[in-house]
C-alpha cells in the first residue's frame, strides 16, 4: 500500500498514512487539494500536504472549535465562520437553534466543492438557508463589515505560517472586535500546545492587545501534529469558561463537563504566559 507523508515544516514529527485510494488531487488557485482514503480514518482532506480532517475524527476539532464560545455566549444569533471550507464548523453552528444567520467566508471555493462531493456528512449544512456563502479573504470581509451586530466569529484556518496568517494579525483582531456586539466572542485554533508553545503565546499576546478577556483551551486531535491542540478565545465582556446556555445539542465529544475541563488550568496558563514553561 502506498503511503502519504504529511509535510508540516514546523512539526518535529512526520505523520504518514496508508493510502487505499487517491480520490482527488488538483491544484486550486490557492493550494493543492488532495482527498485520500485510509483504512482507519476513512476519507481524508489534505491541503498543501497537511491533513485538515478525516471522516472518522473530524468531530473532535469541529465540536471543540464551535461549541465552547457558542455556549459561553448567552444568545448567539449572528455568526461569522472564516475558513473551514469543508463545512464542518458551519454544521456545528447550525445545531444551535437560536442562530439566525451564518456568514460563511471561505477564500478557496474549490475546498467547498470538494467537500460537498467527498464529505457529505461534513458539508451538508452549507446549503442551509441561514448560511450566506462569501468567497473571499476573511480579513477583507471583516474589514468591509461596518455594523457591530455579530455575536460570534469562528476562524477555522489552515496553517498559520501559510496564507492564513492575515487572520492572526493585530489589525485583523481589531477590525473583528469592532464588528462584534458588546457581548461578542471570538475563537480560533492556535496550534499545538505541545510543539508550538511559542505560537500559542504569540497569538494569546496579540489577542490580549485587542480584547479584555482572552483565554485558552485544548482538545485532543489525533491527526494534528502534537495532538494536544489549542484554541484561543476572546471576548468583549463575558468569560469563556462559564456556560451560559445549557447544552441541548447532539454531540459526540463536547458536553458541559468537557467545556469546563478543556480550559487550561490557571496556574499552567500563568506559567505559559510568563514563559516559564519549557519542554
Amino acid at each position: 500500500m502506498i503511503k502519504f507523508f504529511e509535510k508540516a515544516p514546523y512539526a518535529p514529527v512526520e505523520y504518514s498514512y496508508d493510502v487505499e485510494e487517491i480520490l482527488y488531487k488538483e491544484k486550486s488557485k490557492f493550494q493543492e487539494i488532495i482527498v485520500i482514503k485510509n483504512p482507519h480514518f476513512g476519507k481524508m482532506l489534505i491541503l498543501d500536504d497537511v491533513v485538515q480532517l478525516t471522516e472518522r475524527d473530524e468531530f473532535f476539532y469541529h465540536e471543540m472549535l464551535t461549541h465552547v464560545i457558542m455556549h459561553a455566549h448567552p444568545h448567539p444569533k449572528k455568526v461569522i465562520v472564516i475558513g473551514g471550507g469543508d463545512g464542518g464548523t458551519v454544521r456545528e453552528v447550525l445545531k444551535h437553534k437560536n442562530v439566525e444567520k451564518i456568514y460563511f467566508v471561505e477564500i478557496d471555493e474549490e475546498v467547498i466543492n470538494v467537500s460537498k462531493k467527498f464529505f457529505p456528512t461534513v458539508s451538508y449544512g452549507i446549503d442551509d438557508p441561514r448560511v450566506e456563502i462569501k468567497i473571499m479573504d476573511g480579513a477583507e470581509f471583516i474589514l468591509k463589515k461596518k455594523s457591530a451586530d455579530i455575536d460570534a466569529v469562528i476562524v477555522d484556518s489552515t496553517d498559520i505560517i501559510g496564507f492564513a496568517r492575515s487572520l492572526y494579525t493585530t489589525d485583523f483582531f481589531t477590525t473583528l472586535r469592532d464588528c462584534l456586539t458588546d457581548e461578542g466572542m471570538f475563537v480560533t485554533h492556535s496550534e499545538s500546545f505541545h510543539f508550538h508553545m511559542d505560537m500559542v503565546i504569540e497569538i494569546q499576546e496579540t489577542l490580549k492587545k485587542v480584547f479584555p478577556v482572552v483565554d485558552l483551551y485544548t482538545a485532543p486531535i489525533a491527526t494534528y501534529p502534537g495532538n494536544w491542540w489549542s484554541f484561543s478565545c476572546a471576548s468583549k465582556k463575558y468569560g469563556c469558561r462559564e456556560i451560559r446556555r445549557i447544552p441541548e445539542i447532539e454531540t459526540k465529544f463536547y458536553d458541559s463537563e468537557i467545556h469546563l475541563q478543556s480550559f487550561v488550568p490557571e496556574r499552567l496558563y500563568e506559567k505559559l504566559l510568563n514563559k516559564t514553561l519549557k519542554w
Partner: protein
C-alpha cells in the same frame, strides 16, 4: 499583499515558528524597501535570559560590535545588560543612553589613546591588555584601573578564529600581570577568547586549563586574581544545529568550579549569541542569469553591505518568496549587487526558483552584518528594524 514563502523542514530547526510568523506578518503589511535587517526583540530577550544562567557568579557584557544599532542597545539597556566596547564611537552611543560606567568594560587589548581618555573620563575601569605598551598607556590615562590580561588559547573549531592578533603565552602573561601591578594598576584577572562561532566545546577546556596555570603563576608572584573573563564564542544556528548554550555553560561552570577559587567573578562577552539568531535580513532578487552551467541569483545585499562574513566561511540559510512548486528547485550561486567580482555570498544553494522582484530572507543574520556594512559602489547601509511588542505588556 500576502506573499508566499517556501518554508521547508530544515528552516524549522534554524528559526522558531513564532519569529518567522512575526517576520512574515511584518512583510505582509509594510511597504517594502529592501534591504533591511529585521530583529525579533523577544528572541533577543530569550537569548539574554539563557546566557550566564548556568555559570555561577557571572555577568554579561554584550559585545557591541556584533550589532551597535541604537534600538537594540536601548532594548538591551532596559534588560540591564553590561556592554563590552572598543572605541569612542561605541562609547558615544552608550553614553547617549545613559549607561552607567560600571556596566561597561573594554576587552580590546590595544586601545587608542583617544578612546582611553574618553573612557577614563566616563568612569570605565575594566580594561584588557596584552602588552607593555598598553600598560604604559593605561597608567598614564586611567591610573589604578582594573586590568585583565589576554591569554592566547587555541581557536580550532571556531569558524571565526581570532587568536593570532591578540593574546600572549603563559610566561609573558604572568610577567605582564606583575608589570601592571608595579605600574600601580590593579591586575584583577585573565581573559581569553576561544574564537567566535566556536562549535568545539573542548576549546573551553584547554582555555580554562591554561587560565588556571596562569592563575597559579600569578599567585606565586603575589598577585591575587579575582576575575575570569571568558570572552564570547557561543555558536548560533546558521545552517545546522549547534551545541547549546546550556551544554557549553554547564561544562564551563564545572571546570571553573574544579579549577578556580569559589568566589571568583566571571565575565561573559556574547555578541553573536545575543543578536545573531534574532536577525533576519530581508533582500530582493534583483536579477537572474545562467552562466555556462551555473545559475546565478543576484540580490540587493552582498559582501559589502552586510554579508561580509560569508567571505570568512559563514554560510546562511535562505527562505525565498516563490510562486513555483517546491518540487522544482535549482542550484544557485548567490551574489551581491555590486560590480566587484568578489561580491559572491554563497555557492551551491538549492532553492525553489524565485522571480526577479521576489524577496529572499537570510536567517540568523543579526550579528556582524550591518556592523560591517559599507557604502561601496553606492549601495546604502541597510537599516535595522526592531519588531517590538507594542501596547500592553
Amino acid at each position: 499583499m500576502l506573499r508566499t514563502f517556501k518554508v521547508e523542514k530544515f528552516h524549522a530547526s534554524i528559526i522558531p515558528e513564532s519569529t518567522l510568523f512575526k517576520v512574515l506578518k511584518y512583510l505582509d503589511k509594510e511597504v517594502i524597501e529592501t534591504p533591511f535587517l529585521l530583529i525579533d526583540s523577544e528572541m533577543i530577550k530569550e537569548k539574554v535570559s539563557m546566557i550566564g544562567r548556568h555559570i555561577r557568579n557571572s555577568k554579561i557584557f554584550y559585545a557591541v560590535k556584533a550589532n551597535p544599532d541604537i534600538e537594540i542597545l536601548k532594548f538591551l539597556n532596559e534588560l540591564n545588560l553590561g556592554f563590552e566596547i572598543s572605541s569612542e564611537g561605541e562609547l558615544e552611543i552608550l553614553s547617549s543612553l545613559g549607561v552607567e560606567p560600571e556596566r561597561i568594560i573594554s576587552s580590546n587589548p590595544v586601545k587608542s589613546l583617544k578612546f582611553l581618555k574618553m573612557a577614563a573620563k566616563y568612569g570605565i575601569h575594566f580594561f584588557s591588555y596584552d602588552s607593555v605598551d598598553e600598560v604604559d598607556k593605561l597608567t598614564k590615562v586611567v591610573p589604578h584601573c582594573n586590568v585583565y590580561v589576554r591569554l592566547s588559547v587555541p581557536n580550532e573549531g571556531s569558524e571565526w578564529p581570532l587568536s593570532k592578533k591578540f593574546g600572549v603565552e603563559l610566561d609573558e602573561a604572568a610577567t605582564l600581570l606583575t608589570y601592571a601591578k608595579d605600574k600601580g594598576l590593579n591586575p584583577v584577572g585573565i581573559t581569553f577568547h576561544v574564537g567566535s562561532q566556536c562549535t568545539n566545546v573542548y576549546n573551553w577546556n584547554i582555555a580554562l586549563d591554561k587560565a588556571k596555570a596562569l592563575w597559579e603563576l600569578a599567585e606565586r608572584n603575589k598577585i591575587k586574581l579575582t576575575l575570569l573573563n571568558i570572552g564570547g564564542g557561543y555558536p548560533i544556528k546558521y545552517t545546522k544545529n549547534v551545541v547549546s548554550i546550556e551544554t557549553i555553560e554547564k561544562n564551563v561552570n564545572n571546570l571553573i568550579y574544579d579549577k578556580f577559587p569559589k568566589n571568583i567573578e566571571i565575565h561573559i562577552e556574547p555578541g553573536r549569541a545575543v543578536v545573531g539568531e534574532a536577525g533576519i535580513f530581508v533582500a530582493t532578487v534583483i536579477g537572474k542569469a545562467q552562466r555556462s552551467d551555473e545559475e546565478w541569483l543576484y540580490i540587493d545585499i552582498g559582501v559589502f553591505n552586510g554579508l561580509m562574513e560569508s567571505v570568512g566561511g559563514i554560510k546562511y540559510s535562505y527562505i525565498v518568496e516563490s510562486y513555483k512548486h517546491t518540487k522544482y528547485k535549482k542550484r544557485y550561486t548567490i551574489a551581491g549587487p555590486s560590480c566587484d567580482s568578489f561580491d559572491v555570498i554563497d555557492k551551491n544553494v538549492t532553492l525553489p526558483e524565485p522571480d526577479t522582484g521576489n524577496l529572499i530572507l537570510i536567517l540568523s543574520s543579526g550579528a556582524y552584518t550591518v556592523s560591517y556594512a559599507s557604502e561601496f559602489n553606492g549601495f546604502s547601509i541597510p537599516k535595522t528594524i526592531l519588531i517590538q511588542r507594542k501596547g500592553k505588556r
